[in-house]
Amino acid sequence: MVVDLNVNLLGEFGQIALFLILSVLFTIMLVLLPMALRWVGLVPKKPSPTKQSTYECGMQTIGETWVRFNFRYYLYAIIFVLFDILAVFLFPWAVGLRGEHRVFGLIVMGMFFFVLVVGLVFAWKKGALEWK
Protein backbone atom coordinates (compact mmCIF):
# COMPACT_ATOMS: atom_id res chain seq x y z
CA MET A 1 0.00 0.00 0.00
CA VAL A 2 1.30 3.42 -0.91
CA VAL A 3 -0.01 6.66 0.52
CA ASP A 4 0.89 10.13 -0.63
CA LEU A 5 2.30 11.92 2.39
CA ASN A 6 1.89 15.34 0.81
CA VAL A 7 -1.82 15.31 1.58
CA ASN A 8 -2.46 17.23 4.76
CA LEU A 9 -3.20 14.23 7.00
CA LEU A 10 -3.48 16.36 10.12
CA GLY A 11 -6.01 18.61 8.45
CA GLU A 12 -8.16 15.67 7.38
CA PHE A 13 -8.12 14.11 10.81
CA GLY A 14 -8.63 17.57 12.28
CA GLN A 15 -12.30 17.40 11.32
CA ILE A 16 -12.68 14.18 13.29
CA ALA A 17 -10.89 15.76 16.23
CA LEU A 18 -13.33 18.65 16.03
CA PHE A 19 -16.28 16.26 16.29
CA LEU A 20 -14.58 14.51 19.19
CA ILE A 21 -14.11 17.76 21.10
CA LEU A 22 -17.69 18.86 20.35
CA SER A 23 -19.13 15.57 21.57
CA VAL A 24 -17.15 15.70 24.80
CA LEU A 25 -18.21 19.30 25.40
CA PHE A 26 -21.85 18.40 24.67
CA THR A 27 -21.77 15.56 27.19
CA ILE A 28 -20.24 17.74 29.87
CA MET A 29 -22.84 20.41 29.14
CA LEU A 30 -25.70 17.89 29.55
CA VAL A 31 -24.36 16.92 32.97
CA LEU A 32 -23.76 20.48 34.10
CA LEU A 33 -27.02 21.97 32.79
CA PRO A 34 -29.42 20.51 35.40
CA MET A 35 -26.96 21.34 38.15
CA ALA A 36 -26.77 24.91 36.92
CA LEU A 37 -30.57 25.20 36.70
CA ARG A 38 -30.89 23.80 40.23
CA TRP A 39 -28.30 26.33 41.44
CA VAL A 40 -30.13 29.18 39.80
CA GLY A 41 -33.32 27.99 41.50
CA LEU A 42 -35.32 27.14 38.39
CA VAL A 43 -35.63 23.46 39.37
CA PRO A 44 -37.27 22.50 42.66
CA LYS A 45 -35.84 19.69 44.80
CA LYS A 46 -38.50 17.35 46.21
CA PRO A 47 -36.92 13.90 46.74
CA SER A 48 -39.04 10.76 47.17
CA PRO A 49 -38.06 7.03 47.40
CA THR A 50 -39.44 6.27 43.94
CA LYS A 51 -37.56 9.16 42.36
CA GLN A 52 -34.26 8.18 43.96
CA SER A 53 -34.33 4.49 43.14
CA THR A 54 -32.08 3.19 40.34
CA TYR A 55 -33.78 3.11 36.99
CA GLU A 56 -33.37 0.22 34.57
CA CYS A 57 -35.67 -0.17 31.64
CA GLY A 58 -38.03 -3.14 31.92
CA MET A 59 -36.10 -4.98 34.66
CA GLN A 60 -36.15 -5.46 38.36
CA THR A 61 -33.03 -3.73 39.62
CA ILE A 62 -32.43 -6.18 42.45
CA GLY A 63 -29.76 -8.90 42.20
CA GLU A 64 -26.10 -9.55 41.43
CA THR A 65 -24.32 -7.65 38.67
CA TRP A 66 -22.61 -10.87 37.58
CA VAL A 67 -25.30 -12.93 35.93
CA ARG A 68 -24.79 -16.50 34.80
CA PHE A 69 -25.88 -17.60 31.40
CA ASN A 70 -25.37 -20.68 29.26
CA PHE A 71 -21.90 -20.69 27.74
CA ARG A 72 -23.26 -22.41 24.63
CA TYR A 73 -24.28 -18.91 23.72
CA TYR A 74 -20.62 -18.14 22.98
CA LEU A 75 -20.37 -20.85 20.33
CA TYR A 76 -23.35 -19.36 18.53
CA ALA A 77 -22.00 -15.86 18.95
CA ILE A 78 -18.61 -16.78 17.52
CA ILE A 79 -20.05 -18.61 14.54
CA PHE A 80 -22.47 -15.76 13.96
CA VAL A 81 -19.67 -13.17 14.03
CA LEU A 82 -17.67 -15.28 11.60
CA PHE A 83 -20.38 -15.32 8.97
CA ASP A 84 -21.35 -11.74 9.71
CA ILE A 85 -17.85 -10.66 8.83
CA LEU A 86 -17.96 -12.77 5.71
CA ALA A 87 -21.11 -10.89 4.66
CA VAL A 88 -19.52 -7.52 5.39
CA PHE A 89 -16.46 -8.57 3.46
CA LEU A 90 -18.53 -9.44 0.42
CA PHE A 91 -19.73 -5.86 -0.22
CA PRO A 92 -16.39 -4.17 -0.97
CA TRP A 93 -15.35 -7.29 -2.87
CA ALA A 94 -18.45 -7.13 -5.09
CA VAL A 95 -17.83 -3.45 -5.83
CA GLY A 96 -14.18 -4.09 -6.70
CA LEU A 97 -14.95 -7.09 -8.91
CA ARG A 98 -14.46 -5.64 -12.36
CA GLY A 99 -11.87 -5.25 -15.10
CA GLU A 100 -8.67 -7.22 -14.97
CA HIS A 101 -9.27 -8.50 -11.43
CA ARG A 102 -12.47 -10.33 -12.30
CA VAL A 103 -11.20 -13.92 -12.60
CA PHE A 104 -8.59 -13.48 -9.91
CA GLY A 105 -11.16 -12.01 -7.53
CA LEU A 106 -13.58 -14.88 -8.13
CA ILE A 107 -10.91 -17.50 -7.49
CA VAL A 108 -9.69 -15.81 -4.32
CA MET A 109 -13.18 -15.34 -2.92
CA GLY A 110 -13.97 -18.95 -3.84
CA MET A 111 -11.01 -20.09 -1.75
CA PHE A 112 -12.09 -17.86 1.12
CA PHE A 113 -15.61 -19.31 0.95
CA PHE A 114 -14.26 -22.82 0.83
CA VAL A 115 -12.23 -22.33 4.00
CA LEU A 116 -15.29 -20.94 5.79
CA VAL A 117 -17.50 -23.76 4.57
CA VAL A 118 -14.99 -26.30 5.88
CA GLY A 119 -15.22 -24.48 9.20
CA LEU A 120 -19.00 -24.65 9.13
CA VAL A 121 -19.01 -28.36 8.28
CA PHE A 122 -16.55 -28.93 11.09
CA ALA A 123 -18.73 -27.04 13.59
CA TRP A 124 -21.81 -28.90 12.36
CA LYS A 125 -20.25 -32.35 12.57
CA LYS A 126 -18.82 -31.66 16.01
CA GLY A 127 -22.29 -30.72 17.23
CA ALA A 128 -21.57 -27.07 17.90
CA LEU A 129 -24.86 -26.10 16.26
CA GLU A 130 -27.03 -28.16 18.63
CA TRP A 131 -28.43 -26.53 21.72
CA LYS A 132 -27.98 -29.03 24.52
Binding site: V2, V3, V115, V121
Partner: protein
Protein backbone atom coordinates in the same frame (compact mmCIF):
# COMPACT_ATOMS: atom_id res chain seq x y z
CA UNK B 1 -0.94 -13.81 -11.25
CA UNK B 2 1.28 -16.86 -11.14
CA UNK B 3 -0.25 -19.39 -8.73
CA UNK B 4 2.72 -21.68 -9.12
CA UNK B 5 4.89 -19.28 -7.13
CA UNK B 6 2.83 -19.65 -3.94
CA UNK B 7 2.12 -23.34 -4.44
CA UNK B 8 4.05 -24.47 -1.32
CA UNK B 9 1.93 -22.28 0.95
CA UNK B 10 -1.31 -23.06 -0.90
CA UNK B 11 -0.78 -26.80 -0.84
CA UNK B 12 0.17 -26.70 2.84
CA UNK B 13 -3.03 -24.83 3.68
CA UNK B 14 -5.03 -27.28 1.56
CA UNK B 15 -3.40 -30.16 3.42
CA UNK B 16 -4.51 -28.65 6.74
CA UNK B 17 -8.09 -28.34 5.46
CA UNK B 18 -7.95 -31.91 4.13
CA UNK B 19 -6.96 -33.15 7.59
CA UNK B 20 -9.85 -31.20 9.15
CA UNK B 21 -12.32 -32.77 6.72
CA UNK B 22 -10.89 -36.29 6.96
CA UNK B 23 -11.07 -36.09 10.73
CA UNK B 24 -14.85 -35.75 10.47
CA UNK B 25 -15.34 -38.85 8.38
CA UNK B 26 -12.79 -41.46 9.44
CA UNK B 27 -12.49 -43.25 12.72
CA UNK B 28 -8.84 -44.34 12.67
CA UNK B 29 -7.13 -41.10 13.70
CA UNK B 30 -3.60 -42.47 13.18
CA UNK B 31 -4.34 -42.29 9.48
CA UNK B 32 -4.53 -38.51 9.84
CA UNK B 33 -0.93 -38.34 11.02
CA UNK B 34 0.09 -40.49 8.06
CA UNK B 35 -1.85 -38.27 5.64
CA UNK B 36 -0.37 -35.14 7.24
CA UNK B 37 3.22 -36.38 7.30
CA UNK B 38 3.15 -37.85 3.79
CA UNK B 39 1.16 -34.91 2.46
CA UNK B 40 4.01 -32.60 3.45
CA UNK B 41 5.85 -34.08 0.50
CA UNK B 42 3.62 -32.01 -1.85
CA UNK B 43 4.60 -28.53 -0.56
CA UNK B 44 8.16 -29.81 -0.18
CA UNK B 45 8.21 -30.89 -3.81
CA UNK B 46 6.85 -27.52 -4.95
CA UNK B 47 9.44 -25.71 -2.83
CA UNK B 48 12.27 -27.79 -4.30
CA UNK B 49 11.05 -27.11 -7.82
CA UNK B 50 10.88 -23.37 -7.05
CA UNK B 51 14.47 -23.22 -5.77
CA UNK B 52 16.41 -20.76 -7.90
CA UNK B 53 13.46 -18.45 -8.58
CA UNK B 54 13.94 -14.85 -7.52
CA UNK B 55 10.50 -13.33 -7.90
CA UNK B 56 7.68 -11.67 -6.05
CA UNK B 57 4.03 -12.55 -6.40
CA UNK B 58 0.61 -11.37 -5.16
CA UNK B 59 1.37 -7.75 -6.16
CA UNK B 60 4.86 -7.96 -4.67
CA UNK B 61 3.65 -9.04 -1.27
CA UNK B 62 5.14 -12.51 -1.18
CA UNK B 63 8.71 -13.17 -2.20
CA UNK B 64 9.78 -16.40 -3.77
CA UNK B 65 13.52 -16.38 -3.24
CA UNK B 66 16.21 -18.47 -1.61
CA UNK B 67 15.47 -16.95 1.77
CA UNK B 68 11.77 -17.80 1.84
CA UNK B 69 12.42 -21.28 0.42
CA UNK B 70 15.18 -22.02 2.94
CA UNK B 71 12.74 -21.27 5.74
CA UNK B 72 10.03 -23.18 3.90
CA UNK B 73 12.24 -26.29 4.02
CA UNK B 74 13.01 -25.66 7.68
CA UNK B 75 9.35 -25.28 8.67
CA UNK B 76 8.24 -28.29 6.63
CA UNK B 77 10.94 -30.32 8.33
CA UNK B 78 9.78 -29.10 11.74
CA UNK B 79 6.15 -29.95 10.93
CA UNK B 80 7.16 -33.43 9.69
CA UNK B 81 9.13 -34.18 12.84
CA UNK B 82 6.34 -32.76 15.01
CA UNK B 83 3.74 -35.03 13.46
CA UNK B 84 6.04 -38.00 14.07
CA UNK B 85 7.01 -37.37 17.68
CA UNK B 86 3.47 -36.38 18.68
CA UNK B 87 2.27 -39.98 18.27
CA UNK B 88 3.60 -41.05 21.67
CA UNK B 89 1.95 -38.17 23.47
CA UNK B 90 -1.46 -38.12 21.81
CA UNK B 91 -3.08 -40.87 23.92
CA UNK B 92 -2.99 -38.31 26.73
CA UNK B 93 -5.31 -36.04 24.71
CA UNK B 94 -8.18 -38.31 23.74
CA UNK B 95 -10.74 -37.34 21.13
CA UNK B 96 -9.10 -34.31 19.59
CA UNK B 97 -6.34 -35.73 17.39
CA UNK B 98 -7.68 -34.39 14.11
CA UNK B 99 -7.73 -30.84 15.44
CA UNK B 100 -4.23 -31.29 16.77
CA UNK B 101 -2.75 -32.26 13.40
CA UNK B 102 -4.75 -29.60 11.57
CA UNK B 103 -3.63 -26.84 13.94
CA UNK B 104 0.02 -27.85 13.58
CA UNK B 105 -0.30 -27.72 9.79
CA UNK B 106 -2.17 -24.39 9.84
CA UNK B 107 0.48 -22.86 12.03
CA UNK B 108 3.17 -24.14 9.68
CA UNK B 109 1.30 -22.49 6.80
CA UNK B 110 1.51 -19.22 8.71
CA UNK B 111 5.23 -19.70 9.30
CA UNK B 112 6.00 -20.32 5.64
CA UNK B 113 3.92 -17.27 4.67
CA UNK B 114 5.76 -15.18 7.24
CA UNK B 115 9.13 -16.13 5.78
CA UNK B 116 7.91 -15.11 2.34
CA UNK B 117 6.04 -11.90 3.23
CA UNK B 118 7.74 -8.67 2.24
CA UNK B 119 5.05 -6.21 3.15
CA UNK B 120 4.05 -5.11 6.66
CA UNK B 121 0.36 -6.05 6.54
CA UNK B 122 1.10 -9.47 5.07
CA UNK B 123 3.75 -10.01 7.72
CA UNK B 124 1.24 -9.19 10.43
CA UNK B 125 -1.43 -11.48 8.97
CA UNK B 126 1.03 -14.35 8.56
CA UNK B 127 2.20 -13.85 12.13
CA UNK B 128 -1.36 -14.06 13.42
CA UNK B 129 -2.11 -17.12 11.28
CA UNK B 130 0.88 -18.85 12.82
CA UNK B 131 0.21 -17.68 16.39
CA UNK B 132 -3.52 -18.36 16.81
CA UNK B 133 -3.21 -22.16 16.36
CA UNK B 134 -0.32 -22.13 18.84
CA UNK B 135 -2.46 -20.49 21.52
CA UNK B 136 -5.07 -23.22 21.12
CA UNK B 137 -2.40 -25.94 21.07
CA UNK B 138 -0.80 -24.66 24.28
CA UNK B 139 -4.12 -25.20 26.10
CA UNK B 140 -4.71 -28.57 24.45
CA UNK B 141 -4.33 -30.78 27.52
CA UNK B 142 -7.20 -28.92 29.21
CA UNK B 143 -5.77 -29.45 32.68
CA UNK B 144 -4.97 -26.60 35.04
CA UNK B 145 -1.38 -25.93 33.95
CA UNK B 146 -2.08 -26.31 30.26
CA UNK B 147 -5.03 -23.91 30.42
CA UNK B 148 -2.89 -21.43 32.31
CA UNK B 149 -0.20 -21.76 29.64
CA UNK B 150 -2.75 -21.16 26.89
CA UNK B 151 -4.24 -18.07 28.55
CA UNK B 152 -0.83 -16.60 29.33
CA UNK B 153 0.41 -17.21 25.82
CA UNK B 154 -2.76 -15.72 24.32
CA UNK B 155 -2.76 -12.56 26.45
CA UNK B 156 0.95 -11.83 26.16
CA UNK B 157 0.90 -12.73 22.48
CA UNK B 158 -1.97 -10.32 21.91
CA UNK B 159 -0.04 -7.54 23.65
CA UNK B 160 3.04 -8.34 21.57
CA UNK B 161 1.13 -8.20 18.31
CA UNK B 162 -0.49 -4.93 19.36
CA UNK B 163 2.97 -3.49 20.01
CA UNK B 164 4.14 -4.81 16.66
CA UNK B 165 1.17 -3.27 14.93
CA UNK B 166 1.83 0.07 16.59
CA UNK B 167 5.43 -0.06 15.37
CA UNK B 168 4.24 -0.84 11.85
CA UNK B 169 1.75 2.03 12.04
CA UNK B 170 4.52 4.46 12.99
CA UNK B 171 6.79 3.28 10.19
CA UNK B 172 3.90 3.47 7.74
CA UNK B 173 2.91 6.91 9.00
CA UNK B 174 6.39 8.29 8.45
CA UNK B 175 7.18 6.69 5.12
CA UNK B 176 3.70 6.25 3.64
CA UNK B 177 4.62 2.74 2.46
CA UNK B 178 3.98 -0.78 3.69
CA UNK B 179 6.16 -2.68 1.21
CA UNK B 180 9.59 -3.34 2.70
CA UNK B 181 11.59 -2.32 -0.35
CA UNK B 182 9.40 0.76 -0.82
CA UNK B 183 10.06 1.73 2.82
CA UNK B 184 13.78 1.36 2.09
CA UNK B 185 13.40 3.66 -0.94
CA UNK B 186 11.50 6.26 1.08
CA UNK B 187 14.18 6.17 3.78
CA UNK B 188 16.98 6.36 1.23
CA UNK B 189 15.34 9.43 -0.30
CA UNK B 190 16.24 11.06 3.02
CA UNK B 191 14.55 13.69 5.07
CA UNK B 192 12.98 11.25 7.54
CA UNK B 193 15.12 11.61 10.61
CA UNK B 194 12.57 11.66 13.34
CA UNK B 195 12.58 10.10 16.80
CA UNK B 196 9.20 8.56 15.92
CA UNK B 197 10.90 6.37 13.31
CA UNK B 198 13.33 5.04 15.91
CA UNK B 199 10.42 4.49 18.26
CA UNK B 200 8.62 2.51 15.56
CA UNK B 201 11.72 0.39 14.93
CA UNK B 202 12.08 -0.29 18.66
CA UNK B 203 8.44 -1.37 18.83
CA UNK B 204 9.05 -3.74 15.90
CA UNK B 205 12.00 -5.24 17.80
CA UNK B 206 9.71 -5.68 20.81
CA UNK B 207 7.00 -7.36 18.77
CA UNK B 208 9.36 -9.80 17.08
CA UNK B 209 11.33 -10.15 20.31
CA UNK B 210 8.30 -11.82 21.82
CA UNK B 211 8.39 -14.47 19.09
CA UNK B 212 12.08 -15.25 19.49
CA UNK B 213 11.84 -15.06 23.32
CA UNK B 214 14.47 -12.39 23.80
CA UNK B 215 14.85 -10.39 27.00
CA UNK B 216 12.78 -8.45 28.15
CA UNK B 217 9.94 -10.08 26.22
CA UNK B 218 10.60 -13.61 27.50
CA UNK B 219 8.21 -13.78 30.46
CA UNK B 220 5.82 -16.17 28.77
CA UNK B 221 8.49 -18.75 27.96
CA UNK B 222 8.99 -20.80 31.16
CA UNK B 223 5.31 -21.05 32.08
CA UNK B 224 4.08 -21.80 28.59
CA UNK B 225 6.86 -24.33 28.00
CA UNK B 226 6.06 -26.09 31.25
CA UNK B 227 2.29 -26.10 30.93
CA UNK B 228 1.82 -26.84 27.23
CA UNK B 229 1.80 -30.46 26.01
CA UNK B 230 5.44 -31.45 25.42
CA UNK B 231 5.18 -31.91 21.60
CA UNK B 232 3.59 -28.46 21.38
CA UNK B 233 6.36 -27.02 23.54
CA UNK B 234 8.90 -28.48 21.15
CA UNK B 235 7.02 -27.09 18.16
CA UNK B 236 6.75 -23.61 19.69
CA UNK B 237 10.38 -23.59 20.77
CA UNK B 238 11.76 -24.24 17.29
CA UNK B 239 9.00 -23.00 14.97
CA UNK B 240 8.15 -19.72 16.65
CA UNK B 241 11.81 -18.87 17.10
CA UNK B 242 12.76 -19.58 13.49
CA UNK B 243 9.74 -17.60 12.26
CA UNK B 244 10.63 -14.63 14.45
CA UNK B 245 14.18 -14.56 13.15
CA UNK B 246 12.98 -14.93 9.57
CA UNK B 247 10.74 -11.90 10.01
CA UNK B 248 13.47 -9.85 11.72
CA UNK B 249 16.01 -10.66 9.01
CA UNK B 250 13.56 -9.78 6.26
CA UNK B 251 12.19 -6.58 7.81
CA UNK B 252 15.35 -5.11 9.24
CA UNK B 253 17.72 -5.83 6.36
CA UNK B 254 15.29 -5.10 3.56
CA UNK B 255 13.56 -2.04 5.03
CA UNK B 256 15.96 -0.57 7.59
CA UNK B 257 19.34 -1.62 6.17
CA UNK B 258 19.95 1.97 5.05
CA UNK B 259 20.68 4.75 6.01
CA UNK B 260 23.72 3.93 8.14
CA UNK B 261 22.68 5.73 11.32
CA UNK B 262 19.45 3.76 11.48
CA UNK B 263 21.18 0.42 10.87
CA UNK B 264 23.82 1.09 13.51
CA UNK B 265 21.10 2.12 15.97
CA UNK B 266 19.08 -1.05 15.70
CA UNK B 267 22.08 -3.35 15.45
CA UNK B 268 23.43 -1.84 18.69
CA UNK B 269 20.02 -2.35 20.33
CA UNK B 270 20.03 -5.97 19.23
CA UNK B 271 23.61 -6.45 20.43
CA UNK B 272 22.73 -5.17 23.93
CA UNK B 273 19.56 -7.28 24.03
CA UNK B 274 21.59 -10.27 22.86
CA UNK B 275 24.08 -9.91 25.74
CA UNK B 276 21.25 -9.57 28.29
CA UNK B 277 19.26 -12.44 26.77
CA UNK B 278 21.99 -15.04 26.85
CA UNK B 279 23.23 -14.03 30.28
CA UNK B 280 19.83 -14.10 31.94
CA UNK B 281 18.73 -17.25 30.11
CA UNK B 282 21.82 -19.17 31.17
CA UNK B 283 22.00 -17.92 34.74
CA UNK B 284 18.34 -18.64 35.48
CA UNK B 285 18.51 -22.05 33.75
CA UNK B 286 21.01 -23.22 36.40
CA UNK B 287 18.28 -23.23 39.06
CA UNK B 288 15.66 -25.14 37.10
CA UNK B 289 14.61 -28.57 38.33
CA UNK B 290 12.08 -29.23 35.55
CA UNK B 291 13.55 -30.30 32.21
CA UNK B 292 10.91 -28.41 30.19
CA UNK B 293 11.62 -25.18 32.04
CA UNK B 294 15.33 -25.84 31.63
CA UNK B 295 14.92 -26.22 27.88
CA UNK B 296 12.78 -23.07 27.94
CA UNK B 297 15.55 -20.99 29.49
CA UNK B 298 18.07 -22.69 27.21
CA UNK B 299 15.87 -21.51 24.33
CA UNK B 300 16.11 -17.94 25.65
CA UNK B 301 19.89 -18.26 25.91
CA UNK B 302 20.12 -19.64 22.37
CA UNK B 303 18.03 -16.71 21.09
CA UNK B 304 20.78 -14.54 22.58
CA UNK B 305 23.50 -16.39 20.63
CA UNK B 306 21.56 -16.14 17.39
CA UNK B 307 21.10 -12.41 17.92
CA UNK B 308 24.89 -12.02 17.80
CA UNK B 309 24.61 -12.95 14.13
CA UNK B 310 21.83 -10.38 13.66
CA UNK B 311 23.80 -7.66 15.39
CA UNK B 312 26.83 -8.38 13.19
CA UNK B 313 24.85 -6.95 10.26
CA UNK B 314 26.96 -8.75 7.66
CA UNK B 315 26.20 -11.48 5.17
CA UNK B 316 28.37 -13.82 7.25
CA UNK B 317 26.20 -13.07 10.29
CA UNK B 318 22.99 -13.63 8.37
CA UNK B 319 24.00 -16.98 6.93
CA UNK B 320 25.24 -17.86 10.42
CA UNK B 321 21.76 -17.12 11.77
CA UNK B 322 20.18 -19.52 9.26
CA UNK B 323 22.72 -22.22 10.03
CA UNK B 324 22.29 -21.73 13.77
CA UNK B 325 18.51 -22.00 13.46
CA UNK B 326 18.81 -25.31 11.60
CA UNK B 327 21.30 -26.69 14.14
CA UNK B 328 19.19 -25.48 17.07
CA UNK B 329 16.08 -27.03 15.54
CA UNK B 330 17.72 -30.44 15.21
CA UNK B 331 19.18 -30.46 18.72
CA UNK B 332 16.06 -29.09 20.40
CA UNK B 333 13.66 -31.42 18.59
CA UNK B 334 15.85 -34.39 19.47
CA UNK B 335 16.00 -33.37 23.13
CA UNK B 336 12.25 -32.81 23.34
CA UNK B 337 11.49 -36.11 21.59
CA UNK B 338 13.57 -37.93 24.20
CA UNK B 339 11.82 -35.96 26.95
CA UNK B 340 8.42 -37.01 25.53
CA UNK B 341 9.34 -40.69 25.65
CA UNK B 342 10.87 -40.48 29.12
CA UNK B 343 8.13 -38.34 30.68
CA UNK B 344 5.50 -40.68 29.23
CA UNK B 345 7.04 -43.50 31.23
CA UNK B 346 7.89 -41.50 34.38
CA UNK B 347 4.88 -39.17 34.28
CA UNK B 348 7.26 -36.50 35.54
CA UNK B 349 9.44 -33.81 34.00
CA UNK B 350 11.76 -33.41 36.99
CA UNK B 351 15.45 -33.80 36.25
CA UNK B 352 16.09 -35.74 39.46
CA UNK B 353 13.71 -38.46 38.25
CA UNK B 354 15.98 -38.98 35.24
CA UNK B 355 18.61 -40.57 37.46
CA UNK B 356 20.18 -43.67 35.99
CA UNK B 357 18.20 -43.29 32.77
CA UNK B 358 21.27 -44.47 30.83
CA UNK B 359 20.80 -47.95 32.24
CA UNK B 360 17.04 -48.01 31.64
CA UNK B 361 17.09 -46.58 28.12
CA UNK B 362 20.65 -46.42 26.78
CA UNK B 363 19.93 -45.22 23.22
CA UNK B 364 17.41 -42.61 24.33
CA UNK B 365 19.78 -41.23 26.96
CA UNK B 366 22.69 -41.20 24.55
CA UNK B 367 20.72 -39.19 22.00
CA UNK B 368 19.41 -36.80 24.66
CA UNK B 369 22.99 -36.31 25.86
CA UNK B 370 24.16 -35.72 22.28
CA UNK B 371 21.47 -33.07 21.73
CA UNK B 372 22.32 -31.34 25.03
CA UNK B 373 26.01 -31.36 24.06
CA UNK B 374 25.06 -29.79 20.75
CA UNK B 375 23.06 -27.10 22.58
CA UNK B 376 26.14 -26.43 24.73
CA UNK B 377 28.27 -26.11 21.60
CA UNK B 378 30.91 -28.81 22.04
CA UNK B 379 32.44 -30.44 18.93
CA UNK B 380 31.78 -32.56 16.92
CA UNK B 381 28.16 -31.40 16.94
CA UNK B 382 26.09 -28.97 14.88
CA UNK B 383 25.81 -26.58 17.83
CA UNK B 384 29.57 -26.07 17.87
CA UNK B 385 29.74 -25.21 14.18
CA UNK B 386 26.75 -22.87 14.50
CA UNK B 387 28.30 -20.97 17.39
CA UNK B 388 31.63 -20.85 15.58
CA UNK B 389 30.07 -19.17 12.53
CA UNK B 390 27.92 -16.75 14.47
CA UNK B 391 30.70 -15.70 16.84
CA UNK B 392 33.12 -15.44 13.93
CA UNK B 393 30.71 -13.01 12.25
CA UNK B 394 30.50 -11.07 15.53
CA UNK B 395 34.29 -10.72 15.78
CA UNK B 396 34.59 -9.61 12.17
CA UNK B 397 31.91 -6.98 12.75
CA UNK B 398 33.89 -5.58 15.68
CA UNK B 399 31.59 -6.95 18.38
CA UNK B 400 34.40 -8.57 20.34
CA UNK B 401 32.81 -7.66 23.71
CA UNK B 402 29.60 -9.44 22.73
CA UNK B 403 31.45 -12.55 21.57
CA UNK B 404 33.41 -12.68 24.84
CA UNK B 405 30.13 -12.55 26.76
CA UNK B 406 28.80 -15.28 24.47
CA UNK B 407 31.77 -17.57 25.11
CA UNK B 408 31.54 -17.04 28.88
CA UNK B 409 27.84 -17.88 28.64
CA UNK B 410 28.55 -21.07 26.72
CA UNK B 411 30.76 -22.18 29.59
CA UNK B 412 28.01 -21.39 32.10
CA UNK B 413 25.50 -23.32 29.99
CA UNK B 414 27.74 -26.40 30.04
CA UNK B 415 27.05 -26.64 33.77
CA UNK B 416 23.33 -27.16 33.56
CA UNK B 417 23.28 -29.15 30.31
CA UNK B 418 25.93 -31.55 31.55
CA UNK B 419 24.20 -31.83 34.92
CA UNK B 420 21.33 -33.58 33.13
CA UNK B 421 23.83 -35.87 31.40
CA UNK B 422 25.50 -36.58 34.74
CA UNK B 423 22.18 -37.44 36.41
CA UNK B 424 21.34 -39.82 33.58
CA UNK B 425 24.71 -41.57 33.34
CA UNK B 426 26.25 -41.53 36.81
CA UNK B 427 23.34 -41.68 39.27
CA UNK B 428 21.64 -44.88 40.36
CA UNK B 429 18.38 -45.79 38.61
CA UNK B 430 15.21 -45.80 40.70
CA UNK B 431 13.96 -48.90 38.90
CA UNK B 432 15.13 -51.19 36.14
CA UNK B 433 12.09 -50.79 33.89
CA UNK B 434 12.81 -49.81 30.30
CA UNK B 435 11.29 -46.81 28.53
CA UNK B 436 8.99 -47.74 25.65
CA UNK B 437 8.87 -45.60 22.51
CA UNK B 438 7.05 -45.89 19.22
CA UNK B 439 8.71 -46.31 15.83
CA UNK B 440 7.86 -42.74 14.64
CA UNK B 441 9.48 -41.28 17.75
CA UNK B 442 12.55 -43.44 17.27
CA UNK B 443 12.72 -42.22 13.69
CA UNK B 444 12.77 -38.63 14.94
CA UNK B 445 15.54 -39.44 17.42
CA UNK B 446 17.54 -41.14 14.70
CA UNK B 447 17.09 -38.26 12.23
CA UNK B 448 18.02 -35.57 14.74
CA UNK B 449 21.04 -37.46 16.10
CA UNK B 450 22.29 -38.10 12.60
CA UNK B 451 21.66 -34.47 11.62
CA UNK B 452 23.43 -33.10 14.67
CA UNK B 453 26.50 -35.22 13.97
CA UNK B 454 26.51 -34.67 10.21
CA UNK B 455 26.20 -30.90 10.49
CA UNK B 456 28.94 -30.95 13.10
CA UNK B 457 31.36 -32.77 10.81
CA UNK B 458 30.30 -31.64 7.32
CA UNK B 459 28.65 -28.23 7.74
CA UNK B 460 29.57 -26.95 4.29
CA UNK B 461 26.54 -28.22 2.39
CA UNK B 462 24.02 -26.44 4.61
CA UNK B 463 26.25 -23.39 4.97
CA UNK B 464 26.46 -23.09 1.23
CA UNK B 465 22.66 -23.30 1.07
CA UNK B 466 22.34 -20.61 3.76
CA UNK B 467 24.76 -18.33 1.91
CA UNK B 468 22.69 -18.71 -1.25
CA UNK B 469 19.52 -18.06 0.72
CA UNK B 470 20.59 -14.67 2.05
CA UNK B 471 22.05 -13.52 -1.25
CA UNK B 472 19.08 -11.35 -2.17
CA UNK B 473 18.80 -9.51 1.12
CA UNK B 474 20.71 -6.25 0.73
Amino acid sequence: MNWYLISPQLSLGALALLVVLLDLFIREKRLLAVVGALGLAVPFGFAVSLWGHEEATLYGRLAVDGFSLFFCFLFLGIAFLTLLYSTDYLPRMPGRHGEYYALILLSTTGFTLLAAARELISIYLALELSSLPLYALAAFLRDEKSTEAGIKYLLLGAIASAVLLYGMALVFGLTGRTGLSEIAQALAAGGIREPALLFGVVLLIAGFGFKIASIPFHWWVPDVYEGAPTPVTAYISVGSKAAGFAAILRVFYEAFGQPGWLASDWSLTIAVLSALTMTLGNVVAIWQGNIKRLLGYSGIANAGYIMVGLAAASSLGRSGVLFFLAAYTLANVGAFAAVIAISNKLESDLIEDYSGMARRAPVLSLILALCLISLTGIPPTAGFMAKLYVFNAGVQAGLLWLVIIGVINSVISAYYYLRVVKVMFLNQPASEEGVPSSIPLRTVLFITALGVLLLGVFPYGLLHLAEKAILLLP
